[in-house]
């Protein structure tokens, strides 16, 4: 495929921007910014933490990219990495859920929509979870819920603060009611963390909606959001269909949530690590 074709494809995809954004394909030298259209040299983009140098658009990160930015010295260890989803309801829509899981593992190189680790951030021990939008839209099923709960329980046991980066379209519908129950499970785990007076910092990234926003993503002692991230309970299209009018520009974006008192700050990616360290030190000292 020529770069020209690729750009054209990106343009088409932009129209369904709420739901999908293909991650960088290695070997593509140029990347086009989804927001301002600027062509950016892939290496420059990577060096700029995958933020558009022209307009500041924050590209989605894979879990590996997020960990690389957060732990430049590779000072972390993954936990519960062997958990995988299973099609326990024999659910089949346009495709068998079991097949969907397998394909997502192949395509994304991740086993599910969250990676959980124990690591050291500037010498401070932390329990960190990073969601992966590339794995079935970051949807929360049993595996995401279980890994989240185990991460929190590990933090309680080791007396660590918890940091979680959310990005999710919501509950994993293929797991039906069991995906809904993960909202209860993860929130209950956070209740236990709170009882133990251990801090929880939630970072909402683009997009965080549905069952994840209505559970652990909104429950931080401190809620941070990357600029311009779509954050909400209902998806914009559902709201538009309900109220039968167009949504105002900027609706459900990070800055809107800040204005409405739902998050503590909008934090640019370049400042994220320092901000986290400051917060962790506040809680520790």
């Amino acid at each position: 495929m020529s770069i020209h074709d690729w750009f054209k494809r990106k343009k088409l995809q932009k129209e369904t921007e709420y739901t999908r954004e293909r991650l960088d394909i290695p070997g593509n030298l140029w990347v086009k910014c989804y927001k301002c259209g600027q062509a950016i040299f892939a290496r420059d983009l990577a060096e700029n933490l995958k933020v558009c140098p022209k307009c500041g658009y924050h590209f989605k990160l894979t879990a590996a990219e997020r960990f690389a930015q957060l732990f430049p010295k590779n000072s972390f260890k993954e936990i519960n990495e062997s958990l995988t989803s299973t099609n326990f309801l024999n659910f089949k829509d346009t495709k068998d859920y079991g097949q969907r899981i397998e394909e997502s593992i192949m395509k994304s190189n991740y086993k599910d929509a969250i990676v959980t680790v124990l690591g050291k951030l500037d010498g401070l021990e932390v329990a960190v979870g990073v969601m992966n939008f590339a794995f079935m839209g970051g949807s929360m099923g049993s595996v995401v819920g279980e890994k989240f709960a185990r991460l929190v329980e590990a933090a309680v046991e080791k007396k660590l603060p918890v940091i979680v980066f959310s990005t999710s379209g919501g509950a994993r519908m293929q797991e039906s009611i069991m995906s809904l129950m993960q909202m209860a499970k993860t929130s209950a785990a956070l209740g236990r963390l709170r009882e133990n007076r251990l801090p929880y910092i939630s970072i909402l990234t683009d997009p965080t909606t549905g069952g994840v926003s209505a559970s652990f993503a909104m429950l931080g002692d401190v809620n941070l959001a990357e600029p311009g991230a779509l954050i909400g309970f209902a998806g914009p299209r559902v709201i538009e269909q309900t109220i039968r009018q167009k949504l105002p520009p900027g609706f459900q974006r990070s800055e809107f949530l800040l204005a409405h008192g739902m998050i503590d700050m909008v934090c640019e990616r370049k400042d994220l690590r320092d901000t986290l360290v400051k917060l962790l030190k506040f809680f520790r000292d």
């Binding site: 062997s82 995988t84 293929q174 039906s176 069991m178 809904l180 069952g211 209505a214 652990f216 909104m218």
Partner: protein, 327 residues
Amino acid sequence: MAKAEQKNNTRRLLPFEKPLEELYEKLDKLKTIGSAGKMDMSEEIRLLEKRIEATRQQIFAKLNPIQVVQVARFIQRPTTLEYVSMIFDDFLELHGDRNFSDDPAMIAGVAKLEGRSVVVLGHQKGHSTKEYLARNLGMANPEGYRKALRIMRLAERYNKPIISFIDTPGAYPGLGAEERGQAEAIAKNLREMAELTVPFISIITGEGGSGGALGIAMGNRVLMMEFSIYSVISPEGCASILFRDATRASDAAVAMKITSKDLLELNVIDEIIKEPVGGAHNDPDLAAKNMKAAILRNLEPLLPLSHHELIADRYNKYRKMGIYNEG
């Protein structure tokens, strides 16, 4: 008179109760003749009424999931306020979230259950378009969830059990709901419900619609009326998003496992409350009687538990939920 009755009967029927229509028409005719005083029709009327009940029993013995959805959403299905008045004494409704407003889609209050002080809350729908509008079809806004939390904390402070009634298509997906933090309101309720130090029973009475349902449904025991549903998304929503075909709601309803029987098998709920033949609306008093018995039966073993035990009981219940592979 006969016309009014007939109209009433037609209204009582669910779409799949078509076979009953003819029988009811016959019944009306017999009653008209009987009331005209020319002939004694009482025996014929009795037999026909028996036949109607038998036919209804046949129909309800083998409902498919989408038909259960229709029963769960039926406009005549008893509402939370009706169950509350049938089950409890001295109910006093309490209003407002002390922050923004009073959400009519969520009701809450204090009451007596067999002499015991309890706190009740739940979604309120209605029986007409007018009531649906006034109550927003039981689709609560953030202030509804915050009112519910306020009342749950009141219960906790005075050590009273909580009974919640769930009947909603979902939390309201509106502009104001987003501005006022629908996601945060529900999320906070989930965390706080897990930590409640009092016995807590939740009953899905009609529609258990996703996060909007769960937002008040994290009881130590979760009970479901026989013909209610509980699911992460409506069958219509699932059909259009996953099946890419809005007309396949019926298939989605089957695939999603949303009936009380399915959810009991998945250990998501603890008990199914039997409904009268033809559904709760066909005999609300009997439905309420069964529900009351189930509440008392499930509350009993929770009453002696300590605060710590109640929290642990709830934590373990939800902690176990999930099916996955490991290794």
